[in-house]
């Protein structure tokens, strides 16, 4: 289920819980409940809120948002769940600081706010003593932001997990299982991206979250209020983590491997302007806006162990959704666009197998164990797993399976791709956020059916 389907099936009067199974998770949980606070309970935050409210091992102690409409929706969800109403913080853009100051024994924070707020909120949380911070993608805006978060996490010996849910997609995990079992041989090349027609996300009528108008910034609602502005001012791969996260796991980035260099190319910028003219008329004030973001941005990455990765960011054009995955090795490959797999010696020569049989056979233990619990959770169930992993790590006091180095490396593709394009598509060196630790770190992500 994609985001639009999620919103269609859940009315804006906050019926998000209705799509989840009625069963409570970890009912009769006897351990100490994990105290969590949420920064941002907009539509994305409400996806996470729904999952948190289903768990009996978590105590939601505070929420914070500046949008009264979103807060009302979140409060309605909480009331309906029967859980105690957490303390509400609102009023200005820094109400989250007050929440951190006033909430005692807060062990974890979940951030689902506009991108530009992630870095200050993460670092603010760490400085307030919070040891487990979950943040929606992205980690920061500039390369300096990414370093700042990494250094803050190291300084406070805390865990920062970016909620990259696609790492937990069922087919993605099955393919990771196949990679780890050597089905594809030595991995040589990978592809991914974010190919999602976001025109009705970037523009709306200021009332509905998706479409119905060509407004954005202060006249827009939900993501159009902040996300579109990035397309006005920036040209690069603005949203790389859904594509890079899953493929990075296949080649153990930051754990025996790392990104070395990158170059990016952008097409001309046409789609957003055309959408405004087509739907608002050429005299609409927004028709004068110059968008810097190229319609399709293609990035190539070279890795230390020799693999290459191609990422594509494609959000301004009419097209069906696809993350465009390809995982290829010396013995075969998976491509998700045509739902196909080829394994030399097992598939008929030069012919694709339908991926389904392979994916069913190599279904990941996590999905085998929790597939029913994940049913109805956001984005085809993968939101369940990413929240589950964060909460289980925090409860047990263990490192999160996706850590701050992963978050920084994946998210830093954005400022690096911007810089590459700015310099005329130059190849840009990739900083090593682990400061050399990548050589000795071991893989920890999804090794079993635990979390």
């Amino acid at each position: 289920m994609n985001r639009r389907e999620f919103v269609r099936t859940t009315s804006l009067t906050a019926a998000a819980l209705t799509v989840l199974p009625e069963k409570t998770l970890f009912a009769n949980y006897a351990g100490e409940k994990l105290k969590i606070a949420m920064m941002g309970v907009g539509l994305r935050g409400q996806n996470h809120l729904a999952l948190i409210l289903k768990r009996d091992d978590v105590e939601l102690v505070a929420i914070c948002d500046v949008e009264p409409r979103m807060l009302e929706m979140a409060k309605a969800m909480i009331t309906k769940s029967g859980k105690p109403m957490p303390k509400i913080y609102t009023g200005d853009n820094y109400a989250w600081k007050k929440m951190l100051q006033q909430t005692k024994d807060l062990k974890s924070v979940l951030i689902a706010t506009p991108w530009e707020w992630h870095k200050p909120m993460i670092i603010g949380s760490l400085e307030a003593g919070v040891k487990y911070v979950a943040t929606e993608v992205m980690l920061g805006i500039t390369l300096q932001d990414h370093w700042d978060v990494v250094q803050a996490a190291e300084k406070h010996d805390a865990q920062v997990m970016m909620l990259e849910n696609v790492c937990y997609r069922r087919d993605v995990l099955a393919v990771l299982n196949m990679v780890r079992q050597g089905l594809f041989g030595e991995i040589t090349h990978l592809q991914g991206g974010y190919q999602h027609d976001l025109r009705e996300v970037k523009f709306n009528d200021g009332v509905k979250p998706y479409g119905g108008g060509v407004e954005f910034n202060e006249k827009g609602f939900s993501e159009a209020k902040w996300r579109t502005n990035h397309s006005v001012h920036r040209n690069g791969d603005l949203y790389p983590t859904h594509g890079i996260g899953p493929v990075a796991q296949c080649i153990n980035i930051n754990r025996g491997n790392r990104f070395l260099k990158l170059s990016s190319f952008a097409t001309q910028s046409r789609g957003l302007h055309k959408y405004i003219v087509d739907h608002g008329g050429e005299n609409h004030p927004n028709a004068k806006v110059k968008f810097r973001l190229g319609d399709i941005v293609t990035t190539t990455i070279q890795c230390a162990n020799g693999e290459t990765i191609i990422l594509q960011h494609d959000t301004n054009s009419p097209r069906p959704y696809s993350l465009g995955f390809r995982v290829q090795g010396t013995d075969g490959l998976w491509m998700d666009v045509n739902n196909s797999i080829y394994v030399e010696g097992k598939s008929k020569p030069h012919q694709w197998d339908s991926a389904k049989e392979w994916l069913d056979k190599y279904d990941h233990p996590l999905w085998k164990k929790y597939g029913n619990d994940a049913t109805g959770a956001g984005h085809g169930g993968m939101d369940f797993f990413v929240i589950h992993a964060f909460i289980e790590s925090a409860k047990r006091g263990t490192p999160t399976p996706l850590d701050v180095y992963d978050a920084a490396a994946w998210s830093a593709i954005t400022p690096l791709s911007e810089q590459s394009i700015e310099l005329g598509n130059e190849t840009i060196d990739f900083p090593d956020f682990t400061s050399g630790k990548w050589m000795n770190r071991n893989a920890v992500f999804a090794l079993n059916d635990d979390y």
Partner: protein
């Protein structure tokens, strides 16, 4: 009847002999400078250097790809921005004189190598903090070379790039000297033949 026989009848000639054009058969082979077999990595770092440091690049190191990294300090002076530069290819007496290669950032804020400079001016704020120059030189056919010079800031962001094909491999051979500016470290990395791994001579005491 074969076509060749027909031509023989028509032109009353003898059967044609094998063509002998003196041209060699096409050969698909990687250029010598791309073949790393039989070579070993070369790596040398100096952590304390000053303007009067001198070191030499000998020919066998320049036969393969090599990289030079320099850590430089702020370019800010009381009078404004100072330049920072490194001169390479200074020839000893007795060696044929060739154009020396100068590279760095000039006082106007542009990265340069020889007479080429970056398209855009580097922001002042970036030049008043530690910087790193990364020079990568790759041999090309016919003794030419491809040089790529990058300027990277203290967090690893590439600020400017200049590429040049105007220098031969021979141009790089010789002493290199820090002409202007403060440098924190110098790193030289490449490949060379195993029996000749002491290819770099230097008068630097610490290495």
């Amino acid at each position: 009847m074969q076509r060749r026989d027909i031509f023989n009848i028509l032109f009353k000639g003898s059967p044609p002999s094998e063509l002998n054009t003196a041209e060699s058969e096409p050969v698909i082979k990687a250029p010598v400078y791309l073949i790393n077999e039989g070579t070993i990595p070369f790596f040398q770092v100096w952590k304390s250097i000053s303007e009067d440091v001198e070191a030499s690049l000998l020919p066998r190191l320049t036969n393969h790809e090599f990289a030079l990294k320099l850590g430089a300090g702020s370019l800010e002076t009381p009078e404004g921005l100072s330049g920072v530069s490194l001169r390479l290819g200074i020839k000893d007496a007795g060696m044929p004189a060739l154009n020396e290669i100068t590279l760095g950032v000039n006082a106007a804020g542009y990265l340069f190598i020889g007479d080429l400079q970056s398209k855009s001016k580097i922001h002042y704020d970036k030049l008043i903090a530690d910087l790193q120059f990364i020079l990568e030189v790759k041999p090309q056919p016919n003794g030419k070379s491809f040089a790529k010079l990058k300027l990277v800031d203290q967090i690893g962001l590439t600020l400017a790039v200049v590429k040049s094909e105007q220098f031969s491999q021979e141009n790089w051979v010789g002493v290199f000297r820090l002409d202007l500016g403060q440098f924190h470290f110098l790193q030289l990395e490449g490949r060379c033949a195993p029996e000749e791994n002491q290819l770099l001579t230097t008068n630097i005491s610490e290495y």
